[in-house]
């Protein structure tokens, strides 16, 4: 079993993105966000992603609807489609006699604000340990975190959702992404009604979606003005390697 075999399988299971981060890349990360706090034998963190259809964001862009985005860009993608992909990857890993630990992609910032429990023993971090999934994706070479705090990938810009698999298999890591997506661009700040002051995201009416308690009431922003501005800027600056026949906004 090697990285390329898992990558090919993950694609056949519906993953649009698959990257590998050797555990050494997580050195220095706080134990309350460290993969080895969940699975101490972790040698590799596999980051899986599925795209958010650009069409799912179209309805938000046109202000004609929200529910297609909530369904296909958020709820079903995150709660149904992506877990199935991660589950299938773990089945493959287990069939090769290694351990695979599937991890749901919670918003770590929102999760950190919720008290869950005290540590069960001295030296252990308090449950639940949540891994910063966008940062893990950076370490797995999938893309870079933009000024808005969301992951940007060369394939889909801000339009993807992520899940993790921790494994004790030692797999070759992917090279880190070196693209400077932001490079002086301030489109996300310019289009945000609050100039990207994150504490005001809950007030945003441009396509932000407040999630429920089960998702730590995180504010989803992939369809919001900041994300759509970013997508438009990335297309205009030709920084995406996937091209549509028409740009997301072809009138500006």
């Amino acid at each position: 079993m090697n990285s390329n075999m898992i990558r090919a399988a993950a694609r056949s299971f519906g993953a649009d993105l698959c990257g590998f981060a050797p555990i050494e890349r997580f050195t220095g990360i706080d134990p309350k966000h460290h993969p080895q706090s969940i699975f101490p034998q972790t040698k590799t963190v596999i980051v899986l992603g599925r795209r958010i259809l650009r069409g799912a964001v179209r309805v938000v862009e046109e202000q004609s609807a929200v529910s297609p985005y909530i369904d296909f860009g958020l709820s079903m993608l995150e709660d149904q489609f992506l877990p199935k992909t991660a589950y299938d990857v773990v089945l493959l890993i287990e069939a090769n006699h290694f351990d695979g630990v599937p991890i749901f992609g919670y918003d770590v910032e929102a999760a950190d604000k919720v008290y869950m429990a005290d540590p069960v023993a001295d030296g252990k971090p308090a449950p639940n340990v949540y891994i910063d999934i966008a940062h893990a994706a950076e370490l797995a070479g999938l893309g870079k975190i933009g000024r808005h705090g969301m992951l940007i990938t060369p394939q889909f810009g801000t339009l993807q959702r992520l899940s993790l698999v921790l494994t004790d298999a030692e797999l070759t890591g992917d090279p880190l992404c070196k693209i400077d997506f932001c490079n002086g661009c301030s489109a996300c700040i310019d289009e945000c009604p609050f100039a990207l002051k994150r504490e005001r995201c809950a007030e945003c009416k441009t396509g932000s979606v407040p999630t429920n308690f089960g998702h730590f009431n995180a504010i989803d922003r992939n369809g919001a003005a900041c994300s759509r501005a970013c997508l438009n800027a990335l297309e205009k600056r030709d920084l995406l390697n996937r091209h549509f026949n028409r740009n997301f906004r072809d009138d500006k």
Binding site: L53, R54, G55, A56, R58, S67, F72, S75, M76, Q80
Partner: protein
């Protein structure tokens, strides 16, 4: 990417039905039911469908299981899980070809928003037509399918529109309903249906919670789920010799159970 490519991809993903509505048919639709109102770039509508297994209606027919058979395999699995996953993956296929794909569930309308009528889209995509009982009927499965749509800016060739005559001289659904909810001209009084005790299920808006989806300002396109109800099953039995999806034996094995609005048992001859 042409219509045949889309259909092959849809079938490959597991869709039982795939029809295409071309741009020339948009003109006949008013703005409040026009795909252009949702996405102005739309040039075609792709409608896909998953069959509802005949076996998924068995528990209701026998009145012995209303949850682990139809609820899971008639509603959640074909409607919320397989169909939506296939729709998303077909959307990815369309977007990989450089076109945009806006995914829409059928029972999926937002309050105070214009929307598309999924049965109208399916009809204009050549999949079938609406019958007297208010069900969308196809030559393949009769009333047994769930549908979803992609709006795309790809210009695709449309399928021929078909007008089925399944309901000609047939009043099976009307006769089956003990509450008189379906009139002779095929108008359904859903207020009566809401109180029906013969196998109706909550609307899909309510089912969002069951499926674990978060609440939204949604109103259902189908006011009530009647596929497994006494009217839906009557339609299925009436059509079983006329559709493509045939079986070795008839669905109906015994007298039909029916309850009136007060829950009192009324029998009907087989």
């Amino acid at each position: 990417m042409n219509s045949n490519d889309v259909k092959a991809a849809a079938k490959g993903l597991g869709a039982d039905l795939c029809g295409i509505m071309s741009y020339d048919r948009f003109a006949s639709l008013p703005p409040d039911r026009n795909p252009l109102t949702i996405a102005a770039r739309t040039r075609s509508v792709i409608v896909i469908g998953h069959r509802i297994l005949r076996g998924a209606l068995r528990g209701v027919e026998e009145a012995t299981n209303f949850v682990s058979v139809y609820d899971h395999f008639g509603i959640a699995a074909p409607g919320w899980k397989f169909l939506t996953k296939n729709l998303a993956e077909l959307g990815a296929f369309v977007e990989d070809a450089g076109f945009e794909a806006v995914p829409l569930r059928a029972g999926h309308r937002e309050a105070d928003k214009n929307w598309v009528d999924y049965m109208e889209m399916a009809h204009l995509a050549g999949l079938g037509s609406v019958g007297k009982g208010g069900f969308f009927l196809t030559p393949e499965f009769g009333h047994r399918q769930r549908l979803a749509m992609l709006l795309t800016d790809a210009e695709l060739e449309g399928d021929p529109i078909i007008d089925l005559n399944f309901c000609q001289n047939c009043d099976a659904c009307i006769r089956a309903c003990p509450n008189g909810a379906i009139s002779a001209n095929g108008k359904v009084n859903f207020e009566i249906c809401r109180n029906c005790q013969n196998g109706v299920y909550p609307s899909r808006g309510a089912l969002a919670e069951i499926a674990g989806l978060q609440g939204s300002d949604e109103v259902p396109d189908d006011p009530i789920d009647r596929y497994a109800a006494v009217c839906g099953r009557a339609c299925m039995v009436a059509l079983e010799k006329h559709i493509d999806n045939t079986f070795g034996t008839s669905f109906r094995k015994r007298k039909v159970w029916r309850l009136d609005r007060d829950g009192k048992y009324i029998s009907e001859e087989k």
